[in-house]
Amino acid sequence: MTYFFQLVVSGIVVGSIYALAAIGFVLIYKSSRVLNLAHGQLIAAGAYITYTLTVYCHIPIYLSFVLSMILMFFLAMSVERIFLRRLIGEPIISVIMVTIGLMSIIDGVIYLTPYGSENLSFPSFLPSQPIVFQGIYISYTQVAGVVITFLLIGVFSWFFRKSTVGISMRAVSDDQMASMSIGISVPRVFGLAWATAGLTAAAAGGILGNIVGLNFDTLHAFGIIVFPVVILGGLDSLPGAVAAGIIMGLIQQFASGYLDGNWGLSGTASLLPYIVLLVILLFKPHGLFGTHEIERV
């Protein structure tokens, strides 16, 4: 039973990072209907920026975490400004293909830095002794990660419910024409959506880097699992993203805990999310909490 709870705990830890990562994706989709394929690369970039600031610039990790979020905020905003702003009005398919191009570009840039091939880990800033509770191990980093994740999720839900900017972003996602007519600048909202996505990506990347270390392949694989998460939760639902993130974390932990090693299976944790994705697409295309579209074509 301890084993089970251990898996639950680590599932929740991983899942909450998924949730944080998925929020950024959902934000972009909600406001502009663009599936941002480059989101995983934004997360990786966030992780590496945090690492660079901490290790090479000797900035305390708390500060560098915040700094990298700010940097990614402006970086993602400029990505939107440079590449995507000129495609407003083009068919959405070309915008999505541009994000595929971006994915490739950021991949290439990271491969060109020494980070592309090295295994790095953050200097530990919390006690490395894990917390033991009833035989369940949790490290301080994981606790910090979960706490920061839920704090950020709380901040974002407040932001979307109460702040004017957040409400205008929701308005744009609801109806672009109508929001234009009441004086919301739609391109600005798109820019903001990307910027916020960059910010959450940096946060997710920073936390992830602290928990699992920095290896580009791992970060890459992590970034792609964001897609099953958002499909499971429903592409345009923030609570869905959070719930689906945690569900996906649990699925993965249970898979690697119970399936691997039995029946000659291995690495099922990296396979199951995609099977879930296909099944969800076939049987419940709007995910758990996504908006149902009435029209059937």
């Binding site: 590449f83 191009g101 570009i105 950021i106 792609i224 690495g267 099977i275 296909l278 074509v297």
Partner: protein
């Protein structure tokens, strides 16, 4: 009446749909096409290429076949596929797995290779149909996610199953032709001709599919699925059909690649490769059959340039940097983005401009 002169048409004088749907509008087009074919088939007799460059030419032709399929899905049916390399992998691993089970020198592999290639096409098509299935329930571009997960599931299956040698290289034997076994010295030349025939046949095949009601319904669904639905087409089934066709061409391309490389390896069917095929399609021109020829050539040549640049720079910079692995995705990504922003109709559009210029010369219009 149509224009009396079918050699020198100065414009479109179509009066029936039949005329408009012709593959070759004028006799001149047909003549140029025939001359082009003659050149393609005969140049190896006049120019001797090194093995390395012959391999590049062969790879371009394989990519052309794959891009036919991807262009049907992305250009004509308007769905993005980021799993095209995996569909090719299905084809390649069909051949490789059969070779692994019955032995790579079995008659079925070495003598009945056209049958094996067709079989791979059908397994690819079957996979395409399965991946396309969610289209029955979905609108928009969610299918992108289905292809992405197919790509990753494919990688997992290849990497972990004994049947596929767990992603290690699997050998496929040399093929036989009427003159006996195709030896090492003729290998690339033989496959150049085999590929060329496949490219021409499937190119004409794609052109013909696009003239049929199924092909035209692809375009109709892309442009407006509600209107297509109202006109009695089934948008979901049309998209599934498009994915099946794409899988078919990818399967054939993959099988040919397995024969050309004398085996199948895991690393030629990754997500990066899928993106490379997408880059080829975009650069060539979405929704243009001629674009399927330009795109692969342009990207493969770019690839060669990047490689030599990386080699040149590798001599100057510290060797710890692996430039090629970084420059490749970087250049493909840049090409995708720049073409989509500045020339969304691809190289095929330049070709169209040149053609219309030549056609009307010496007049401006």
């Amino acid at each position: 009446m149509m224009s009396a002169n079918r050699w020198m048409a100065t414009g479109n004088y179509f009066t029936t749909y039949r005329q408009e749907q012709r593959i070759f509008a004028t006799h001149t087009d047909r003549l140029i096409f025939a001359l082009f074919l003659v050149v393609l088939f005969s140049w190896p007799y006049f120019i001797e290429l090194s093995t390395k460059h012959m391999l590049v030419v062969d790879n371009i032709l394989i990519a052309v076949i794959a891009v036919y399929g991807l262009n049907l899905v992305t250009g004509f049916a308007g769905q993005i596929s980021v799993g095209h390399a995996a569909f090719m992998g299905v084809g390649a691993y069909t051949v490789a797995a059969v070779a692994g089970v019955i032995g790579d020198q079995h008659v079925l592999i070495t003598h009945a290779w056209p049958l094996m290639i067709l079989l791979s096409g059908f397994t690819g098509a079957a996979m395409g149909l399965i991946v396309g299935l969610p289209a029955l329930r979905l609108r928009h571009l969610y299918l992108l996610m289905a292809t992405l997960s197919f790509q990753l599931i494919f990688q997992w299956v290849i990497g972990s199953m004994e049947l596929f040698n767990q992603g290690q290289f699997m050998y496929v034997g040399r093929v036989h032709w009427f003159s006996g076994e195709v030896g090492r010295s003729q290998h690339y030349m033989f496959w150049y001709y085999a590929l060329l025939v496949t490219v021409v046949v499937s190119g004409l095949g794609v052109r013909n599919i696009l003239r049929t009601r199924y092909g035209r319904s692809l375009v109709a669904v892309r442009d407006n699925d509600r209107a297509a639905d109202a006109m009695g087409m089934h948008p979901g089934l049309t998209k599934v059909f498009a994915f099946g066709l794409a899988g078919f061409f990818a399967g054939i391309a993959g099988a040919l690649q397995a024969y050309l490389n004398r085996g199948a390896g895991f690393e030629t069917f990754t997500l990066h490769e899928s993106i490379q095929y997408l880059a080829m399609t975009i650069v060539g021109g979405l929704g243009q059959v001629t674009g399927c020829l330009f795109g692969p050539a342009a990207i493969r040549i770019l690839d060669l340039q990047v490689e030599s640049l990386a080699q040149w720079a590798g001599g100057i910079l510290p060797s710890s940097l692996d430039l090629a692995t970084g420059l490749r995705p970087l250049s493909f990504g840049l090409v995708i983005v720049l073409f989509l922003i500045f020339e969304p109709r691809g190289i095929a559009n330049w070709w169209r401009i040149i053609r219309s210029y030549v056609k009307l010369w010496p007049f401006r219009y």
